[in-house]
């Protein structure tokens, strides 16, 4: 058990939840990242500028982290070209079809005790766990 790492993860979670609470209390909006990105594919609305500034903030977040920590956060991507393309297409299409991702259904939906979000979180967690089980325990390493 790595308690310092878990504590760091908990603190990160508190900030993510704080960001969602701020977006709701200040702007009246659900902080769902896939919805914010997806809305930019539609016609411009009164929220378009805010959607863009939110995403700019999201991009600047890791730099703010680096200013405190002295290094950028770790990003280790083992997946190859085909897996990243397939994964990206599925994440993009799936989050729009299912009306949300880890943030909208997970962080915000669970907080609202939304039955739809609970069902979505159960489904995407189960699908992800089964996918990792198959790719990590049944397929040879180079197929990942």
């Amino acid at each position: 058990m790595n308690w310092p790492l878990y504590f760091q993860s908990l603190c990160g979670g508190l900030l993510i939840g704080g960001a969602a609470a701020l977006f709701l209390l200040l702007n009246g909006r659900i902080a769902g990242i896939s919805g914010i990105i997806g809305s930019l594919f539609g016609p411009p609305s009164a929220e378009t500028v805010t959607n863009v500034t939110f995403l700019v903030g999201l991009l600047l977040g890791p730099l703010l982290y680096a200013a405190f920590a002295g290094h950028l956060p770790k990003v280790d991507i083992a997946a190859g070209f085909g897996t990243l393309v397939a994964g990206g297409l599925l994440v993009g299409f799936g989050t729009r079809l299912g009306s949300g991702c880890t943030s909208g259904h997970g962080v915000c939906g669970l907080a609202r005790l939304s039955p739809r979000s609970m069902a979505a979180v159960g489904m995407f967690m189960a699908a992800a766990i089964v996918t990792v089980f198959i790719t990590h325990h049944f397929l040879p390493g180079d197929a990942r």
């Binding site: 979670g13 993510i16 939840g17 997806g38 890791p62 703010l64 990003v75 393309v85 297409l89």
Partner: protein
Amino acid sequence: MRPLAGLFAGLVFGLGLALSGMMNPARILGFLDVAGAWDPSLAFVLVGAVAVSTIGVLLARRCRTPVFAQHFGWPAVSGIDAKLLTGAALFGIGWGLAGFCPGPAIASLTLGLGKSFLFVAAMLAGMALYRITVQSRRRQ
């Protein structure tokens, strides 16, 4: 004021992603690999995030309006349907393959890694595909 509030919320969100380890696909896959060397740390991210988000929801329900907007944009109440579950299943498969969900993928672009850009490009293509197939068909 809303764009400024959005910028600040996005910045705190991105800082939280960076601190939590959610931006690292290796950690995500370690969390999802329940039959392997399971890394439970991302469960702490979810617990922390949902706890504070719940406080936000409880406060919002006591407020008549948000600070900078006319009303709260609560999602319309609707049932659990095949569209929701199919979408969530497809998202879960993609998440399990690459280890990226939308927020961390966008935030990771800051590091300038080619693989992040590839994933985000495919994700945007998937969203565009949804727009031109499912969404446009429903409006006709």
